[in-house]
Symmetry: C2
Subunit: 466 residues, 2 copies
Amino acid sequence: MPLPPIAPLDDDLERHLVATREATIEQLLELVRMPSVSALPQHAADMVRTAEWLAGQLRWRGAEDVEVVKTALHPIVTGRIHKTPGAPTVIVYCHYDVQPVDPLDLWESAPFEPFVRDGRMVGRGTSDDKGQIVMHLAAIEALQACRGELPVNLTFVFEGEEEFGSQSLYTWIDSARDRLAADVAVISDTGFFEGNRPMLTIGLRGIMYAQIDVVGSAVDLHSGGFGGVVENPANALATIIAALKGPDGRVRIPGFYDEVRPLTDAEREAMAALPFDEEAYRKELGVPALVGEQGFSVLERRGARPTLDIHGLWGGFQGEGSKTIIPAHVHAKISCRLVPDQDPATTFARLRDHVQEIAPPGVTVTVVEHHGGMPSVTPIDHPATQAAARALKGTFGVDPLFSREGGSIPVASAFDHTLGLPVVLLGFSQPNSGAHAPNEWLELANLDGGIRTIIRFWDELAASSR
Amino acid sequence: MPLPPIAPLDDDLERHLVATREATIEQLLELVRMPSVSALPQHAADMVRTAEWLAGQLRWRGAEDVEVVKTALHPIVTGRIHKTPGAPTVIVYCHYDVQPVDPLDLWESAPFEPFVRDGRMVGRGTSDDKGQIVMHLAAIEALQACRGELPVNLTFVFEGEEEFGSQSLYTWIDSARDRLAADVAVISDTGFFEGNRPMLTIGLRGIMYAQIDVVGSAVDLHSGGFGGVVENPANALATIIAALKGPDGRVRIPGFYDEVRPLTDAEREAMAALPFDEEAYRKELGVPALVGEQGFSVLERRGARPTLDIHGLWGGFQGEGSKTIIPAHVHAKISCRLVPDQDPATTFARLRDHVQEIAPPGVTVTVVEHHGGMPSVTPIDHPATQAAARALKGTFGVDPLFSREGGSIPVASAFDHTLGLPVVLLGFSQPNSGAHAPNEWLELANLDGGIRTIIRFWDELAASSR
């Protein structure tokens, strides 16, 4: 099912957007060409360059107090356009960092040499999240060109560590409460429902990310001479990982579910009502079966239940052919997606303690925390959420769906808990964008619809505050 | 405990060996410099070069019918010195291929730039098995120089796939029965007991080597968007591996132990009588505890019981930092060491079937066989074994120990079963040689003692046949 037809804005704005469409696409291509991979130290300079580029874009649009904020890791770009006295103030949050690109050999083209074909742009970050940055920039430019002013006051927060735990942003938000005074925070880093149906995300999972290291002897041992005598770190790691989740799909870390808020009947009914074709979804993923925690639907498991997943395994001989060693050390990256009211610190401590508890003798096991983010849920009936819903309906002609989604945007809970702001998750990627995979892409219709929805949203917010 | 003092040979031979010692060491350095890694296709030319070098060495010593036999993979070097009518004919087997060198960063020097320091030579293949080739070459040269002839007739079999399953050798042996007619086969690819005590190996484990591949979706998936909905191939692989062995150290593949010949009381008593310090052994390995199958001693587990070990694990994100994917595919290298009367084909079939049986739904699992080798046991009381024991005692002044060792030399069973020859495992590496690990080394005293023992062994064989 394609995206519903996009309703045009009033004449001037629509003409402007049509006339500048190529330039907007070119701007996104330019932004995607910057390899701003936050997880890899070799891209530190690219991060700074991308941040400076964004600051320039804000200044060019007349933003004040524009700053590329230095942090312990990657810079935050902030600034404000506060030129509409009496109008509500909106924090606009996006992130300019992207996921690593490996496995590179599965990309059909270079990840940072984006191109447009068949109405799509392909490249790392097109959907997650650079396309959404460009939607906001284009919306501002159109309003300034056609009306000379914005209906709301905007405060920009573009961070560079979303794919890496947002640690610097937490610290900065805490220290920048004054300049972040606002009425609502809008996070544009989500997408539409299966079939590209317009959707508002009303819940996000949190995350606890860690690494497990298993070490045996100081060097690899000959498996002939030592097999049967020493614990094999690879076998030990497998034993540990296998024990963390049962065949029923439930995580077996003691206490893991203690703080999980049960789904209400109303929430379960709302999820069951979403137009979701399990078999089509399975086929699109190309897996023999959908699996997971017993007793919950696919959408519940994806959006409203916690998980435990291994992201990578490595150790020992990985080449062609055979080598008969007992590897000296092996490793796994692991995370748990969290739901209200779990928190990453408690979950990490429970994981670490349990892994130590079940670790077989004969090896040394350590568990190191990488990053964490709180889960969050926003109420459907908040006026800002309702303004976003009206904006989506205005653009696409249909009521948006409301869904709890499985991803994590750690900053959502910071805006909520630290700044006490209502959070609206207004994002525009089509589903299956390959956000963390090869050949990430953005449907250009979603870019077009996103810009128009953002303009309508600001108008709706301004109207609802009068 | 150092190697016992080496008793000199008669004057001429001893003088010759002392005078040519530097040249012998230089010859081993030259051989080790050739990176003959059989498992890695990029070393195919190095394999041929090494084989040609060996053929040249045999020709230079007057060998006849020298041939670098082309095979499906790496060449076999053969040839003969049959100039002593009436004397027994001995097959001399060594292998010129070596293990891969990774992890390269743990080598203190380049693996193929060997050097001598503190009475040791360090480099890939010094112990396994190039040093033992050079011992034979030096023994031949000394006898020819001092006596003009050898006490026995020698047929050489130097193969290039010992670390890769010996597949080509099996085929060739079967087709070369005529030219391999002999009285005994001597395999020099083993070593001494803990403490560098002279030892004869009287049993070897076999091996079954395979790879397990677990595939989920066609591409990596975002663990936020899909975690809890699809089976994670890494978690699935861990579950499979964990189920293959119990906490009691026993392999849980149905039927795995069916053909295992129980140890006799006499065998267990002989093993218990070996001078073995478990705690010193544990400390040298640097592991917190020795573990393994319950109900068996360390030496029994190492030499006379089957195993299951993972040699390498890989898949998904292995870089610094964090990436939140569900990997599309993950892999493991796995082998079982086998004891009489297990065989690799049956063991592979059982592994494959069991893995398919326990594979969780939602992923596709395949098990591919890499190579296999039969286990073998040789009798202590065979005249050839006794000749080797006298030779070791003549050189080192002590009765050798007899032990069943954990490694696999697949060709041992081919000489035994295909050619019907008694097999003597007369090897000279010091223990803990790092044979399959970084910084492999050879104690030069073992090189010296090995050459003298080989000369004495040939004399003993000749004498015992008269």
